[in-house]
Amino acid sequence: MTSNPSGPAPADRSPLRSGRQGDDRVERYGTVAVARHAKTDGRTLILYTHVEAATTEGRTAAGEDTRAEGEPR
């Protein structure tokens, strides 16, 4: 098997806010918030910022699984 990382599934992303100009979206992944920006030359810039413990998608910012037994993983 190779690790075949799948493309992002909408349900697995957590739009938090649309912040400063140029932000496409902000999402959360593990312990970081992910903010995408378009640079003036067209290249992509992604800023990752630590997120304090806050539950999203059944998982805390520290990566702890908070979903109840029986919930889909």
Binding site: T2, S3, G7, Y29, R43, L45, I46
Partner: protein, 338 residues
């Protein structure tokens, strides 16, 4: 050569390997002064740097001088911090853990691209290994082909009849003499047949093909293990220790995962269950085993190990040091730096 990107691959028949031509990289920024560092945050009123914000934590962007670019791969820069004088070893532990999640996120996204066959996360530290920017950062290449070294590792799985890193880890844990650091998630050792005097491999205890397969706690401990090692390196000769650090993991493939559950689990940070992994893995398939290899060029505080006639012409490393003796010194240095 591609007119737009000036990037092309040619195949070297004698070595059976690709050579990448990215001639525009000849003009890349070379050891700028601190005031002109393109990886620092942008100072108010000054020309924008690569990160046009007054502060940031971790930044990732497409390399301005890429060795690979879409639709034939990718080249990204990962800036660890806006502190110009920091290093992987001096990052706060939480930032180092965040970096593991960033690596994982980039592996996930780049690996999903059809034009990326292998995602290589690496850091070059020190002018001795060709660094052109001192600001703490790493890079990620998305190769449009499977490079020779990962291919050799997969071949080793076949030769040994199972996961080679798992087998090597078992041997190191039996011998013990080359182990320099351990925590609950990983073991760091100078390999039995190290090519570099202070080469070290950081290997996950559990069979994890990639960062996507790791438990969150394993990512935290991976960060801790890497920081312990590089701090030990700096303590070894009481100087910033140059190295090349490379994350080895499963090829990406670029195809949709055979298990939607597994992909969803990866996105939310949950490791795939054994049952999911088994379901996704054909019997006898080769997949790799996440480990991080570090190749420091120093053989003493002021002497470099060069790749000379035997290494370049014959492919055989000649080493001036025994791995067991290097491990003893490195183990003591890691303890001293802790």
């Amino acid at each position: 050569v591609n007119d737009r990107s000036q990037i092309a691959q040619r195949f070297n028949e004698l070595r059976a390997e690709h050579v990448d031509y990215a001639v525009h990289r000849q003009d890349r920024t070379f050891l700028p002064t601190r005031e002109h560092c393109p990886l620092c945050a942008t100072r108010p009123g000054a020309e924008p740097t690569e990160v046009p914000f007054p502060a940031f934590q971790i930044a990732v962007f497409d390399n301005l001088f890429p060795a690979f670019q879409a639709p034939h791969g990718a080249a990204e820069v990962v800036v660890y911090t806006d502190d110009h004088d920091a290093s992987l070893g001096t990052l706060p532990p939480q930032r180092a853990e965040d970096l593991m999640w960033v690596w994982r996120h980039r592996y996930l996204e780049l690996g999903a691209r059809a034009d990326v066959e292998y995602v290589l996360i690496f850091e070059n530290r020190g002018v001795e290994v060709g660094v052109t920017l001192h600001h703490p950062h790493g890079q990620i290449y998305g190769y449009p082909f499977l490079p020779p070294v990962p291919a050799l590792e997969l071949a080793a799985d076949t030769r040994l009849g199972g996961c080679a890193p798992c087998a090597l880890l078992r041997r190191e844990l039996e011998d013990r003499v080359r182990v320099v650091y351990e925590n609950d998630a990983l073991v760091t050792y100078v390999p039995y047949a190290a090519r570099w005097p202070y080469e070290a491999h950081v290997t996950l205890r559990e069979h994890r093909p990639s960062l996507l397969d790791c438990e969150p706690e394993e990512l935290r401990m991976l960060a801790a293990g890497l920081q312990a090692l590089v701090c030990g390196y700096d303590a070894l000769f009481d100087r910033p220790f140059p190295y090349v650090m490379v994350v080895h993991q499963a090829p990406a493939g670029g195809a949709p995962t055979p298990s939607a559950e597994r992909g969803a689990a990866a996105l939310t940070g949950a490791p795939a269950s054994s049952a999911q992994q088994s379901a996704a893995a054909p019997t006898g398939a080769r997949e790799g085993h996440l480990h991080v290899e570090l190749y420091p060029p120093l053989r003493t505080a002021h002497k470099l190990k060069y790749l000379a006639g035997s290494e370049q012409g014959a492919g055989t490393f000649i080493s001036d040091t025994l791995p067991e003796e290097s491990a003893a010194a490195l183990r003591e240095a890691i303890a001293r730096a802790a």
